[in-house]
Subunit: 353 residues, 2 copies
């Protein structure tokens, strides 16, 4: 390895030093690195994904799903996770809310000169842990280095490929659907803010970062009596929080959404600190939650499945889809007053993911 | 759009401002944004790629190929290209040298606060031009912003998905193969260095950045009399240049490679300035070249096909694969002396791509 335990520009130069960094820090630490005849170990220009022919033969409309997210979260280590975990989970969750089984991910790292190789390895371990949990290989990657004066910390991009029979859209809500959120909201953003600002209160608050595929997979099989998929629309409420996801779903589906304040799963600590800081928990980022629209007759079945999975144990029905006010989200307070839940504008917590 | 023609932190916040940035700068400027039932226009959590069933049915061993590269090139605009063009071409070329037809790409942008939106749009136009040239859609993306103090310029990650019957490996060289390079080497790195340092000489030198799929596709159909694919191994000589690619191919294939100085296609201007600056053109990055191993009896046919394409018109056979010195690359000078071509160590031109 490098003489010093620091990243140097040469680690991104495509020559010997980069090869040894990749060999010692990347290859040694990823458990599953192959999805076809050319895996990461080959260190070729790319890697292959074998097409699942059984799946293809059984599903006339099989499609691949692709997604990408870069992560610039600050600080890179926080209670409940780090940039590596959030990068893998972010990609997996975007596939999951599209109804796609993850097949493989890529990892693009941009690292400032001087970055600690020990920290890099910690981040890589977190990526691997999340990938192993859902059995998804990392098959290809890229490492670039820049001067320490040009970038303040590591950036990780993960692109992911999945496969589905028919994608779950965010525009599929139907009037009467129940809206479910898969657990406590705003934990990720508030844990990060607490850590970043060094608040004394909430110091045991943890990010919810988690890979949701295994929680979501069984929901996709639930059908109405007419044989339609029970889940009509799904999103992961990351930046912009639940407020942003609900608005997008309402607008794209051209329906109204009504949610009930008393039904929102919010931890006491999160609620109190949001009040104190003037933040709206609905606008705070989550990294291990799904917002799900479900045909009403299947809502209980879906909720039960969710609750049977550790990541969904605090799931709740928070409202329903209405004909009135298409494109709008309305919050009904515990006292019965109503207000619009708007699309978030500002940036309550920058660099949240 | 934003009141000022500058990126603000809110452009990466996942709310209204980001939506309008994506709508006005991204969606309006990409010609082809769909590869399946959910395209970029849907602005969903990801997008789909329809599986090409005709291809799948005709090719028992069809595999997807995935690749990723982040780009941190400095300056972002240079003669012959910009960061957008190089990002798209980099991904396409990694697929092409794996023998894969590109199906779709993703785009992850990390933008510092204060970055010019006019420049962003120029970059987006270049990305689109390259994608249109090869008929490949951009189907999904991500935009993150960071403080202007945290990052000096835009970073673009492109991940790409392609499909092939059998991938072309970089470990497939066979003894006797001819080694071909598809045109003048070291143009990209030297154009960039010239621009960056403001050299007076070479001021008309241009980067070779180009998407190579259409040049490479016909080569894949060339077969030996025994019905084997004529192309045995392929790489795009980016960071580390031709020297790095040849060494990797020799090592992975466990063969020797002999190349002839007089046969290397190097522009006079590049040669002279490399001499002056003490640089080895073999170690300088290219962004529109391929290094190709070909069965000897097919070398002329492959060369002819290459030369018939604008990006391959200066292609040349530069050497051959030998049994001696497995894992080593030997350069024979014009006067007949020999030297090893080593794996590049340092970083002759940092932030070259
Ligand atoms: N951070 C990383 N994680 C996993 N694999 C990586 C990482 N960085 C590089 N690799 C792997 O190492 C090999 C070499 O990577 P490299 O980026 O040099 O290839 P390339 O894209 O062909 O070249 P260039 O980036 O110069 O265009 C590839 O197989 C790549 O998948
Ligand atoms: N730079 C970009 N180029 C192309 N498409 C983009 C770009 N940035 C975002 N998009 C598209 O805009 C939509 C919204 O992107 P966004 O990143 O908010 O989604 P997300 O990944 O689900 O959320 P998050 O990034 O907070 O996890 C997606 O459909 C995405 O493909
Ligand atoms: Mg390559
Ligand atoms: Mg996402
Ligand atoms: Mg690379
Ligand atoms: Mg999402
Ligand atoms: Mg590359
Ligand atoms: Mg995103």
């Amino acid at each position: 390895m490098a003489k010093e335990n620091k990243i140097s520009m040469e680690h991104g130069a495509g020559g010997q030093q980069m090869q040894s960094l990749i060999g010692e820090i990347i290859l040694k630490n990823f458990t599953n690195t192959s999805a076809g005849s050319v895996g990461l170990d080959a260190l070729d220009d790319g890697a292959t994904i074998e097409l699942d022919r059984d799946f293809l033969n059984n599903n006339k409309k099989a499609e691949l799903v692709m997604t990408t997210d870069s992560h610039v979260v600050k600080p890179i280590f926080f209670p409940g996770g780090d940039i590596g975990k959030v990068a893998v989970c972010g990609a997996i969750n975007d596939l999951a809310v599209m109804g796609a089984r993850p097949l493989a991910v890529s990892s693009g790292m941009i690292i400032p000169e001087g970055f600690s190789i020990t920290d890099l390895e910690k981040v890589v371990h977190s990526m691997n842990d999340a990938l192993v949990e859902i059995g998804v290989p990392l098959i290809t990657g890229d490492t670039k280095t820049v001067e320490g004066t040009a970038l303040d910390s590591i950036i990780i991009n993960i692109a992911a490929i999945g496969i589905c029979d028919a994608p779950v859209r965010d525009c599929g809500l139907q009037i009467g659907d129940k809206m479910i959120v898969s657990g406590y909201i705003a934990d990720h953003g508030m844990a990060l803010l607490t850590k970043r600002e060094g608040f004394e209160f909430n110091s045991d608050l943890e990010s919810d970062t988690a890979p949701l595929w295994k929680m979501i997979e069984p929901l996709l099989a639930v059908q109405t009596q007419a044989g339609e998929r029970a889940v009509t629309a799904m999103k992961d409420p990351t930046r912009g929080g639940v407020a942003d996801s609900l608005n997008e779903m309402a607008q794209k589906s051209n329906v109204g959404i009504r949610i009930y304040e008393e039904k929102l799963p919010i931890r006491e600590a999160v609620f109190t600190s949001c009040e104190m800081l003037g933040l709206d928990p609905l606008e705070i980022a989550n990294e291990g939650k799904a917002v799900i629209g479900v045909r009403p007759e299947c809502a209980k079945a879906v909720l039960k499945l969710l609750k049977s999975h550790p990541y969904g144990k605090d799931a709740a029905i928070i409202g329903e889809v209405t004909e009135e006010k298409p494109g709008k989200v309305i919050l009904i307070s515990e006292l019965g007053s109503t207000r619009y839940v708007d699309v978030p504008t500002g940036d309550p917590i920058p660099r949240v993911c």
